[in-house]
């Protein structure tokens, strides 16, 4: 005997794809997790930002060559970009009502975050490899 899955959705609701998107809890938890991880990273980033602003461009060479700073920058870029992506996605979904525009903007958000993230990681990596090779 085929056992039917119990669902309170009407047929119309099913056809219109209404109801939960199924990944809401994951989104919520990832937002909180990245927020927690960003707490120490924020302190670190504030100190780095002050150092960047107050150092000459020759001192910037050494600042970015330090493996600790490079690690910090990479962790900061990844975590803050993911956190920002989750946040902005919700903002887009809240304020853009047209389904086509919503989809386009979420995809553009994906593209922006991915390109910026990969560009940042690649730059720091290449810089470290170059500096390490020059040692």
């Amino acid at each position: 005997m085929k056992k039917e899955k119990l669902s309170y959705q009407t047929n119309l609701a099913k056809v219109k794809a209404l109801g939960s998107a199924k990944s809401g809890t994951h989104h919520w938890w990832m937002q909180r997790l990245t927020a927690i991880l960003l707490m120490p990273l924020m302190v670190w980033f504030s100190i780095l930002a002050i150092k960047i602003v107050t150092s000459t461009n020759l001192e910037l060479f050494d600042l970015f060559a330090s493996p600790y700073n490079s690690m910090g920058i990479i962790l900061f870029i990844i975590t803050s970009l993911y956190h920002a992506f989750l946040g902005i996605k919700v903002v887009i979904e809240d304020y853009i009502h047209c389904p086509k525009m919503k989809l386009i903007m979420v995809i553009m958000l994906h593209i922006t975050c991915w390109i910026s993230g990969i560009a940042g990681l690649l730059a720091v990596l290449i810089y470290n490899v170059t500096i390490f090779g020059a040692l």
């Binding site: 960003l38 504030s46 461009n57 970009l81 920002a84 902005i88 903002v91 009502h97 910026s116 940042g120």
Partner: protein
């Protein structure tokens, strides 16, 4: 398939007023500020990442790594608004995490922590800018 969002096409019925009549409160203002600062921070974050990328690939050339725009008044105001947003979003984010953990989600405590967040934002921004401007 018909447009799922039929509101714009058919619905000319009036909405009852909301933003125009509701008295602004600490809870609602801190909440929308969290979102606004978040969006502004995102834009600045993308800018910062591309500053890192461009600076590295031009070997920290003076024109790229230390752009003149940040010496101007408007440039400094933009930076100031970003740092205020950073500290506000950070402190209010902690307030949100405390709520998520189950503590302090009542009007009295939320108002107190809200004031703490605003005060903390001003303190942190002032301290960081004093240090960054080399006034210490």
């Amino acid at each position: 398939m018909a447009n799922l969002n039929t509101k714009k096409i058919h619905d000319k019925r009036p909405l009852s007023p909301h933003l125009t009549i509701y008295k602004p409160q600490l809870s609602s203002i801190t909440s929308i500020l969290h979102r606004i600062t978040g969006v502004w921070l995102f834009i600045g974050l993308i800018g910062f990442i591309w500053w890192v990328v461009c600076s590295i690939y031009t070997s920290f050339d003076n024109a790229i790594a230390k752009p003149e725009i940040f010496e101007t008044v408007i440039g400094r105001l933009v930076l100031l608004s970003w740092t205020i947003s950073l500290f506000y979003h950070f402190l209010n984010g902690i307030r949100h995490l405390i709520w998520d953990a189950g503590y302090g989600f009542n009007i009295k405590t939320a108002d107190k922590t809200g004031l703490l967040v605003i005060f903390g934002t001003l303190v942190l921004t002032t301290i960081s800018w004093i240090i960054a401007l080399g006034l210490i």
